[in-house]
Amino acid sequence: MKAELSPRMKVFLYGLMCVLLVPFVFPTWWMVTSSVKPISDIFAFPPQLVPQSYDWTTYQKVFELQPFVQQYWNSAYIAALVTLGTMVVSSMAGYAFARIRFPFANTIFMIVLLGLLIPSEVTIVPLFQMFLKAGMVNTHWPLILVPIFGAPSVFATFVMRQFFVTLPGELEEAARVDGLGRFKIFRKIALPLARPALASVAIFTFLHSWNLFLEPIVFLSSADKFTLPQALTQYTDAYGGPMWNIQLAAATLTALPVLIVFIIAQKQFVEGLAHTGLKG
């Protein structure tokens, strides 16, 4: 596989990859360009790959029709809290499962892993009832608490455990001789060394929270509480049909920042995710 490729083979491979790229790249391009086209041009024939004229008022309407800034903030702060919280909870649990001997550790680990087996859709009905009783429906609490402590963080715990298992035991023993207790060993030795694993946990936790859709539409009912994915679907006309250009403008505003961060830090993203201990 690693043999030198002939020039003809190279041309073929580049060509193949460029064709395959179309469905991956074109939608994003189409989203951005269509969002600045006047409404009359977005379904024009032949399709305008590059906008012929621009209409920026669409972006104004995004903010006029809904409290979009508020919704943006909701999504951002929820995702940030969930990411931070998950990093804390999962690194602690992952560390304990990997490195501390305590009674019933294996049984408890099995119970926790059950969370991987149970799609959040299975428990959505009782969770709704529980949060309803707690008076937390139409607040952001369900979107914050469940991912941090519940099933979604189990995968993160698993990834952290897989990492901590590989940490040389001698380092911890040296730290004990040096006078550190459990918590300090965790904070000063194990955690700093776990940066790559933590980074991948942070990335997929953030994306998971940012993309959450079922939970917001179940738990939230007022526009100023909405998160972005939910808000995007609300730009509809009187008949319930989508206002395409405004939806696309809002979608662009939602997708682009993450996309830009990704392109800047793509190495960390891609290698971080390959790093999740899923290599088998």
Partner: protein, 350 residues
């Protein structure tokens, strides 16, 4: 500085006994080497002294204080690990000062102590590097530096040289030894390499199967091993053993009769094991015949594998031997260096 005393120290995992009641006294400033084949419990014993393993029974005292239930950090010991256990995310200086940081030592004093240790070990120019930027020997030195900055009562070494190549091992062996002569701190050193044990120790403890086989000065162990295990373990190439019976004519082994010292005659008619080190054979026309199997010239000496009767043994000669396999030479065992062990149990007889 302190003495270390182990009395009837035991360790078991469930029903399996790992250490069977070890008694050991180490005086202040002594360099003691625990040696034995892998799985003999030497590392476990060291880790029990360090406090990294719990002890099942008996007492461990450091400087007169029973430390059985104390945390490693409260035992005033420092340890050098097999893989050095340097913190990868800290520079050499931080690595070395780390333990002081957690003992509430002031910044200025930490810097001073680190500088002092770095000077002794020749690490001063490496203080800002990270462990991954260091060679094996340098890492080893940092690991020692981390141990000495604290000026602990006892140094513990767990096979610290096993990851170095042969040449560097000899160099570091000398460095550890001279460091000990400089600091005079009580040191307990674990190794499976009997050469390390012989060259470094004030006192060697030979362990086997969780039991102490013999304790003594290196040359005492070499000259008068207490049993067949120690005899075979100490010395390289290792001692030859022939089984047979002590008779009036000498030691009757299969196919040959070997000479015995006068004193051995009182053991007449006993079944025994005849032990002789390779270097205690001499070429002598009046000696016993031996058939050459293999000749390995080393330059300074020649190692010859040969058959004494039916038993294959090794001899090391100062002379150069240039004979082919199958030829017969005559060798004479040095009567003063013959060891006799009981055929059952291997205890020393003479």
């Amino acid at each position: 500085m302190a003495e270390v005393t182990l009395s009837r120290v035991r360790k078991s995992y469930g029903a399996v006994d790992i250490i069977h009641g070890v008694d050991l006294g180490i005086s202040d400033g002594e360099f003691v080497v625990l040696v034995g084949p892998s799985g003999c419990g030497k590392s476990t014993l060291l880790r029990m002294i360090a406090g990294l393993e719990t002890i099942t029974g008996g007492d461990i005292r450091i400087g007169g204080r029973v430390v059985n239930d104390l945390d490693p950090k409260d035992r005033d010991i420092a340890m050098v690990f097999q893989n050095y256990a340097l913190y990868p995310h800290m520079t050499v200086a931080v690595n070395m000062g780390f333990s002081l940081e957690h003992r509430g030592t002031g910044k200025a004093e930490i810097a001073e102590r680190v500088k002092w240790a770095a000077d002794i070990l020749g690490l001063t120019h490496l203080l800002d590097r990270y462990p991954r930027q260091l060679s094996g020997g340098q890492r080893q030195r940092v690991a020692m530096g981390r141990a000495i900055v604290r000026d602990p009562q006892v140094f513990l070494f767990d096979e610290p040289l096993s990851n170095l190549d042969a040449k560097l091992r000899v160099v570091m062996r000398g460095e550890i030894k001279s460091l000990h002569q400089k600091l005079k701190t009580t040191t307990i050193y674990v190794t499976h390499d009997q050469v390390e044990a012989m060259t470094m120790a004030d006192k060697i403890v030979v362990l086997n199967g969780g039991r102490v086989e013999q304790i003594g000065a290196p040359l005492d162990l070499y000259d008068r091993p207490a049993n067949q295990f120690v005899a075979g373990f100490i010395g390289s190439p290792s001692m030859n053993f022939l089984t047979g019976t002590i008779t009036a004519e000498g030691f009757a082994a299969p196919g040959i009769v070997l000479p015995l010292p006068e004193a051995a005659h009182e053991l007449r008619d006993r079944k025994a094991v005849y032990g002789i080190r390779p270097e205690h054979f001499a070429l002598d026309d009046n000696g016993v015949p031996a058939e050459i199997v293999l000749v390995e010239p080393m330059g300074s000496e020649t190692q010859v594998t040969m058959k004494l009767g039916e038993t294959q043994v090794t001899g090391v000669f100062r002379e150069r031997v240039s004979l082919s396999p199958g030829a017969i030479i005559r060798v004479r065992p040095d009567l003063a260096s013959i060891h006799l062990f009981a055929a059952d149990g291997g205890e020393r007889l003479n």
